[in-house]
């Protein structure tokens, strides 16, 4: 696939900096591929969770192919699996997807791509591709691009492959509780939020959000308690804090 080459966005007015595979820093390639495989592996957990929540194999696969953002995917199946409406599921997933937009903002001036290539770039703009790209900053723009594309497509391939594997596994398992899937999903969320809890402020917000959502659960319909905590985050972030 052409889009899988190391430096697909090169041709537009981009002379003298052509990067060949052999020239890409080996560390960048190694890091991209190891991140791709490790993260892709968690697609298994998503595939299983999605089936357990009542989504079909096709729907599960389409979520990984089209949505392609782990937290958002877990959110839609988590909310709808718990009986929430499609709208609250989409809202939660989309609120979690805002950060991909900001990653795009960060990556666009580095990638400088248009047309179909921008479509591909947008689709693989996620935590990991952006993270690896920014991690190569000291090695220069070419290494950043290579890290972005390699990790983006790498995760895309592994994530989709392991999604199908997890979904088929869950279909074969039957009762999700008997295999601990009911605890694996919140544990997956916990693992996603953990690295973001840098200080007391973040930990406080996390604890408060958890309590608010649990407290509201018997009162308002499924999905809404989770969205309510986003308002909490907006209110806290709005008030100036250095």
């Amino acid at each position: 696939m052409r889009t899988l080459s190391i430096n697909p966005p090169a041709p537009y007015g981009y002379i003298g900096q052509n990067v060949r595979v052999s020239k890409v820093n080996r560390a960048t390639v190694t890091q991209s591929l190891s991140v791709s495989f490790t993260v892709g592996l968690y697609g298994t957990a998503f595939g299983a969770a999605s089936i357990a929540a009542g989504f079909s194999l096709l729907q599960t696969s389409l979520l990984s192919l089209l949505t392609f953002s782990g937290a958002s995917q877990f959110a839609i199946v988590g909310v709808m699996g718990a009986g929430g409406s499609a709208i609250s599921g989409i809202a939660t997933a989309s609120l979690l997807g805002i950060r991909n937009g900001l990653y795009g903002l960060r990556m666009a001036p580095i990638l400088k791509v248009r047309g179909v290539k921008r479509v591909f770039a947008a689709q693989v703009t996620i935590d990991e591709s952006t993270g690896v790209a920014i991690g190569q900053e000291d090695l220069g723009t070419d290494a950043m691009k290579a890290g972005f594309w390699l990790t983006g497509f790498g995760v895309y391939i592994f994530w989709n492959f392991f999604t199908i594997l997890g979904a088929l596994g869950a279909q074969a398992m039957g009762n999700p509780s008997a295999w601990g899937l009911d605890a694996a999903v919140p544990a997956a969320f916990l693992g996603l939020v953990w690295p973001r809890l840098h200080g007391k402020y973040e930990k406080g917000l996390a604890a408060l959000s958890l309590l608010v959502a649990v407290a509201l659960s018997p009162v308002i319909s499924a999905g809404l308690p989770i969205i309510a905590t986003a308002l909490l985050a907006v209110a806290l972030g709005w008030k100036a804090r250095s």
């Binding site: 089209l66 919140p186 916990l190 953990w194 989770i226 972030g237």
Partner: protein
């Protein structure tokens, strides 16, 4: 009932996918100066913390709108300990699943 539920799932799948892509594409297409607004950056950092924590709570101790304490809480508690011990993500998820499954079966 059955038919409407299946349709709702499809709405969820398509809707989530459309918005997810639109947000990504928008980021690649708007001027970079938006990135410099500190308030936007701050809120953006806090939203995932709030939503993911809320999801942890709701998925661990509620079921169909009711508070329920069961094997899931034990599983997530083990995951918490694993994270505190800096275990890799995979170990975290598996240890939660195994704990919950064992308790469910006994």
């Amino acid at each position: 009932m059955e038919g409407s539920l299946v349709n709702a799932l499809w709405v969820g799948v398509i809707g989530t996918s459309v918005f997810a892509f639109a947000l990504k594409y928008l980021g690649h297409s708007v001027p970079e100066k938006f990135l410099t607004n500190p308030r936007v950056l701050r809120i953006n950092a806090l939203i995932p913390i709030a939503l993911l924590s809320a999801l942890v709570g709701v998925q661990t101790i509620t079921d169909k709108g009711k508070w329920v304490i069961d094997q899931r809480l034990a599983g997530v508690a083990v995951a918490f300990i694993a994270l505190a011990l800096k275990a890799p993500y995979f170990v975290v998820v598996i240890s939660a699943a195994v704990t919950s499954a064992v308790l469910y079966r006994i």
